[in-house]
């Protein structure tokens, strides 16, 4: 008679994904120079930075690199002295490129595999925001076959088709205590795919300045039939039907880049890039569960991201034939507006400083190492949806290493 519907047991929509978490780690030479490269002819990473430049590359390349990412984030709830640290988890963005064309030909073909978006956060199951997020592991791997054509000695164009393979694994606590007082847990895991393209143009001016323009399209990524696993006390399990699946879509935004290269002397290369990332496509995160109950409803969670920009500069100094030193830096604006910052992506305005070394091990083999330090400005927020209030501080440390074989 005391009829109880377990109505809407505090099941806030599950959040999402990558912002602020655009992972700009697509090539060690470019990282070393502050993520510039759209207006340069460095190596096979042009497939990512500017397919239009590929046909101008003097050689063919096979290269691979990895940039282990240490994401150090901490949260201080408002009005408390508590500090919760994100657990040390190592994300491993990588990139691999192959570029081939006949010597001195007007065309080149290439294939790039890289990870432009992703996130790896683990706040644990005992922190204040556990009902918002415990952990998130999101990976997006882009596969991009590419063709580039030299129209004239001073201009080349190129474009590639993008296939995105994404995976997500998200956990959060459910506020339903069992007989020992322990929380329930939701886990959403799944794979998705999406399609897009990447095109650019590269120009060598008479003044000796090189210019690149690149557009990477948005990639609508859909996760179908992901597993929705709900661990709750047995007496309320019927409210969370098992097995269950979910469908969700994540729009990965477009990026427009204008880049310049300057060559003051034979030893020096200077680069400047400006980016506009079309985050406005990320309006909401919605989850559609295959089996709904009055407790487990489909969710729609506004995100209302806004477009973000970044400016970057970098320099390379060829100290000797075999040896190059690189440095750079940049500034990027936050995509998450006030009131929509969430612990899976504690987004904020940020700057980064980078450095790198290049060394020619053998005639055709380069090894490049890079290091990046990224500092996100402290951001104090009350999330409108969860009312989780506090200050996020994050720093990112990213060493990296790549090998390039060229001929």
């Amino acid at each position: 008679m005391r009829k109880l519907l377990l109505l809407m047991i505090a099941f806030l929509p599950v959040i999402a994904c990558a912002q602020g978490f655009q992972v700009n780690l697509a090539g060690q030479k470019q990282i070393g120079m502050g993520h510039t490269g759209t207006g340069l002819l460095q190596d096979g990473a042009s497939i990512y930075f500017n397919p239009g430049a590929m046909a101008m590359l003097p050689e063919n390349y096979i290269q691979a690199g990895m940039s282990p990412l240490f994401f150090k984030s901490a949260f201080n709830p408002s009005g408390t002295n508590d500090v919760y640290h994100n657990a040390d988890k190592l994300a491993t963005p990588f990139s691999g490129y192959a570029v081939f064309g006949p010597k001195s030909s007007w065309w080149k073909l290439g294939l790039g595999v890289y990870t432009p978006f992703g996130g790896l956060t683990n706040w644990g199951n005992s922190w204040e925001g556990k009902y918002v997020l415990e952990s998130l592991d999101l990976k997006a791997i882009y596969f991009q076959p590419t063709l580039s054509i030299k129209l004239a000695d001073f201009i080349s164009i190129g474009g590639g088709f993008v296939y995105n393979r994404a995976s997500v694994n998200l956990t959060r606590a459910i506020p339903l205590a069992d007989a020992t007082g322990a929380d329930g847990q939701a886990q959403l895991t799944g794979n998705g795919k999406g399609y897009g393209w990447n095109a650019g143009v590269f120009i060598k001016t008479e003044a000796g300045i090189t210019i690149g323009i690149d557009y990477r399209s948005k990639v609508n990524t859909t996760i179908n039939s992901g597993n929705a696993i709900f661990k709750v006390p047995a007496s309320v399990q019927a409210n969370f039907p098992q097995p269950n699946t979910f469908t969700s879509g994540i729009p990965l935004p477009s990026t427009t880049t204008l880049g310049f290269g300057f060559y003051p002397s034979k030893q020096w290369t200077l680069a400047l890039d400006a980016n506009l990332v079309g985050w406005h496509v990320y309006k909401a995160l919605a989850f559609d569960y295959a089996s709904n109950t009055s407790t487990l409803q489909d969710t729609y969670s506004p995100r209302l991201y806004r477009d973000a920009f970044s400016v970057r500069g970098g320099a390379e100094y060829k100290a000797a034939d075999k040896f190059a030193i690189r440095a750079g830096g940049g500034y990027a604006s936050a995509a998450a507006p006030d009131g929509y910052v969430t612990p899976e992506v504690p987004d904020a305005n940020r700057y980064y400083l980078t450095g790198g070394l290049g060394y020619k091990i053998a005639n055709r083999l380069d090894v490049d190492i890079s290091f990046e330090f990224e500092h996100l400005f402290s951001r104090t927020q009350t999330n409108i949806e969860s009312q989780l209030a506090g200050t996020f501080r994050s720093d990112v440390y990213i060493p990296g290493l790549s090998l390039s074989y060229h001929w």
Partner: protein, 443 residues
């Protein structure tokens, strides 16, 4: 090869960088105009940590005063000791736990009867049987006594009538003569919280307006003035809380007349109304009652045995189904009818006017739980990603008895006290982490 050595050194440098964590500067502890070296809590069952229809160890450990005490310690507050039940008697008075749900989705509960701290029963002449509990003789910061009214604080024999109070007193059952007011002020203290007064209205309300009486408004005012002047006799600072609106708690909002009627109509569609025995007017001194159909403004208590509905009972008009005719209405003690609701509200508002006026006259902080709980009833509350409400079980704030709170509810209350203290005295007691306290346990 030197280059590789350099690379190695660089890599080592990188890894040591990677060990750095972002740091926060915590504000310097500041007690403001208050002194938290000995904080005492004065109050009733809510203060004691009563939950799920009983007082037991886990509830005590999550009482709002213990949470406040713990947070005060972060800025240099003193030890906070509670009259805890032992581990061997951790279930204290016994309580109810949830064992499941029936086919209708209604909760099924069971009594917890092991590991009790019950010492025995004594018969107090002129009063009746009193359950006594294992004595506690240690230091006390939390003086919460389940059942106590403001009305009782100057009554010398009260220690013989309330087993929870008797437990804290040194004398044998039946021989105590220390008033509650003297007891709590016997040892010096620097800061107090006081949340007395709930039972002066709640006792009347939970018994459907028949088993108890509301404390007279003028008596309440004079006792409250006396209480606060004693608590501030040495210029101690403190915080008081207002009395919640009784209609804001699930005890009165879960079993509704509409729900009973809908259930009856499933088997007997012709039934048009549920009848209650209701007060005929809103004059507290007039005791005329008459049967009438129940409306949404009449509140049925959570403990009403709904199985009685429709059973044949003997009436002046013969055997008739219970609750379904004017001759066999739902009995008075199960119903706080709309007139009784109006009377209770009027008294609670009067009590709260007194509480706020007395606090203002002494410069004491006020935690307005009346307004806070009414806001939750109207709008809910989202904290740390959890939606809380005044609903029974699902709301997360109220325990299985529908009156007292869950640990999470007590944590929310503790934070309201802390905010009121910080605002009044300029201190910076950090807030408690509400997410780390549980709601109702499900099997």
């Amino acid at each position: 090869m030197n280059k590789f050595k350099n690379i190695f050194i660089l890599a080592a440098g990188i890894l040591s960088f990677a060990a750095c964590k972002p740091e926060f500067k915590t504000p310097a502890p500041n007690t403001g105009a208050a002194n938290f070296s000995r904080y005492i809590a004065v109050g009733n069952s809510l203060t004691a940590g009563y939950a799920d229809g009983g007082l037991y160890l886990e509830g005590q450990q999550n009482s709002y005063p213990s949470i406040i005490g713990k947070q005060m310690q972060q800025i240099g507050g003193g030890a906070f000791t509670q009259p805890l039940f032992t581990d061997a008697q951790s279930n204290g008075s016994g309580y109810i736990k949830l064992t499941g749900f029936d086919a209708n989705g209604s909760p099924i509960t069971a009594n917890v009867t092991d590991k009790l701290a019950i010492r025995g029963f004594v018969t107090i002449p002129g009063f009746g049987d009193v359950t006594t509990y294992t004595k506690y003789s240690g230091d006390i910061n939390n003086y919460g006594v389940p059942g106590i009214k403001l009305l009782n604080i100057t009554y010398a024999p009260y220690g013989n009538l309330n087993g929870y109070y008797e437990r804290l007193l040194p004398g044998a059952a039946g021989t105590n003569s220390t008033t509650y007011l003297d007891f709590v002020t016997a040892k010096s203290f620097t800061f107090f919280s006081n949340w007395l007064g709930n039972n002066d209205a709640l006792g009347y309300a939970t018994s459907g307006g028949v088993g108890d009486v509301l404390t007279d408004k003028a008596t309440f005012a004079s006792l409250y003035t006396l209480l606060i002047s004693r608590l501030t006799a040495n210029n101690q600072k403190g915080v008081v809380a207002t009395i919640p609106d009784v209609t804001a708690i699930p005890y009165f909002n879960t079993v509704t007349p509409a729900l009973i009627l809908a259930t009856v109509q499933k088997s007997s569609p012709s039934v048009q109304a549920i009848y209650i025995n209701a007060k005929s007017n809103n004059d507290n001194s007039n005791t005329t009652y008459a049967a009438r159909p129940a409306t949404a403004n009449d509140l049925i208590v959570l403990t009403f045995p709904t199985s009685k509905i429709g059973t044949l009972v003997s009436t002046v008009a013969g055997m008739l189904p219970y609750g379904l005719t004017p001759y066999s209405p739902i009995e008075n003690q199960y119903v706080l009818d709309n007139n009784e609701v109006a009377i209770t509200k009027d008294f609670v508002i009067s009590y709260n006017t007194t509480i706020k006026a007395v606090a203002a006259s002494k410069g004491i902080a006020v935690n307005d739980m009346y307004t806070f709980l009414n806001n939750i009833k109207a709008n809910g509350l989202v904290v740390d990603g959890v939606s809380l409400s005044s609903n029974y079980i699902t709301g997360g704030l109220f325990s299985l008895d529908g009156v007292h709170l869950t640990p999470r509810g007590y944590a929310v209350v503790a934070n309201q006290f802390i905010k009121a203290i910080n605002t009044q005295y300029g201190s910076n007691i950090p807030l408690a982490n509400v997410a780390s306290y549980r709601s109702v346990k499900f099997p």
